[in-house]
Symmetry: C2
DNA sequence: CAAGCAGTTGATTGATCATTCAATCATGTC
DNA sequence: GACATGATTGAATGATCAATCAACTGCTTG
């Protein structure tokens, strides 16, 4: 009912998306995609002129999936905007656990595998990252009362993405949630400190914002 | 003088290391390694029985390179242990800039590309991460006066690695230092907050260490 | 000088890679 | 029912992949 008749194109995209996530882009052969999607090569090349074009299609699919497959679940898991940030991180934590550390963030995986000779794919990976951080940013803005006016919420949103990706990478390598939980715990402590600073920002004892590099 | 006759094995390892970093593991063909190292296939397979074994050799090489090629430079760039942490991050920043965002952290790249069917490689990637974090941990311990006793310096060291890897990934995707600098700035603010909390830890107004998940 | 052996040569293997394309099928239009 | 168009079939292409191996070289040791 909800998915009455997936198009051939959709079946190719979904299979490629899954295999790129499971095995990586280079490690996934076209023949495997054809077999698992139950499609012949001519059909694939009818819709996607090359493997690179297929990757672009997958990255566009991920842009569409961000809200329904990721962010909606985080928003459902918590109502407080700050708690939504950590609910989001917890979604990725659950993914690690359930898939036995075999797969990390699909965009992160592609980000490090896709070389510079695929500029369009690189651009779409960047767009995925920007959209992800923009949702976090919107949550932070909802909780603007818990940040001091000097706190750069755009930077903090990028920082949350940084922590998620770095924590996923370490957890996969260690096949353990320890580094992931450690990173999230430290991020939580930072958020607590920011909130504390916001509550006492009229005083003189706020931590100095020194060492901020020129950008 | 300093490198007076690299052995064939060393030449293979160094070429493979460079190409894996530039292009990734799967994207690098044996034939390319052979050409650029000026070696014939039999010689390569005399030392390394398979491409996977070559990857293991490269990862062991990286373990050896950590101190002389990375950490020594960070220690030379700053004497204060906390500043060494940020000097280390600045080394990676320089790498991004210098190489036009084409290459990130070689270990991080491999961490996301190497699948679970190469358990020995995965273990060595984890070892590289652990050694990296252990050096950071040793610096944090040197500056233990700037952390409150409750601050978990082991977790913080893992957190620094998380931030480095996540920031490198985002910077590469964006082809911009903005997300990298944003992440480092936020990490610096966290360190400042930790230091501030340590200086005032006798008071009642320290941020609550709530929401720490059980591990 | 003989024997042994680590190291090297380089052609060759079969498998798999991404991609092509002429033929065929399904569907809607005039 | 003729025609056009989009979609599908599936065998075939040449390139490249990792890996093999018998022959050969140069050095060391007795």
């Amino acid at each position: 009912m909800s998915t009455p008749d997936p198009t051939t194109r959709d079946r190719i995209l979904e299979t490629a998306r899954r295999l790129f996530h499971e095995q990586g882009f280079h490690a996934t052969g076209i023949s495997t995609i054809l077999r698992e999607a139950d499609v012949h090569s001519g059909s694939l090349y009818h819709f996607f002129p090359s493997k690179d074009a297929l990757l672009i299609g997958v990255l566009e699919l991920y842009i569409q999936l961000l809200r329904p497959a990721v962010m909606d679940h985080a928003e459902q898991a918590a109502t407080d905007p700050i708690e939504r940030v950590f609910a989001l991180l917890n979604l990725y934590r659950s993914g690690l656990e359930h898939l036995d550390f075999k797969m990390g963030c699909p965009i992160g995986n592609l980000a490090l595998e896709v070389a510079d000779d695929q500029p369009e794919a690189r651009r779409l990976i960047d767009q995925n990252f920007r959209n992800w951080a923009a949702v976090v940013r919107s949550w932070l803005d909802e909780a603007s009362d818990r940040f001091s006016p000097e706190a750069d919420r755009e930077q903090i949103a990028l920082f949350v993405l940084t922590v998620m990706e770095g924590a996923m990478m370490q957890a996969r390598a260690a096949r353990s949630l320890v580094p992931f939980d450690a990173s999230v715990t430290q991020l939580r402590a930072y958020f607590d400190a920011l909130s504390f600073a916001a509550r006492t920002n009229a005083h003189a004892h706020t931590p100095p914002a020194s060492h901020t590099p020129e950008i």
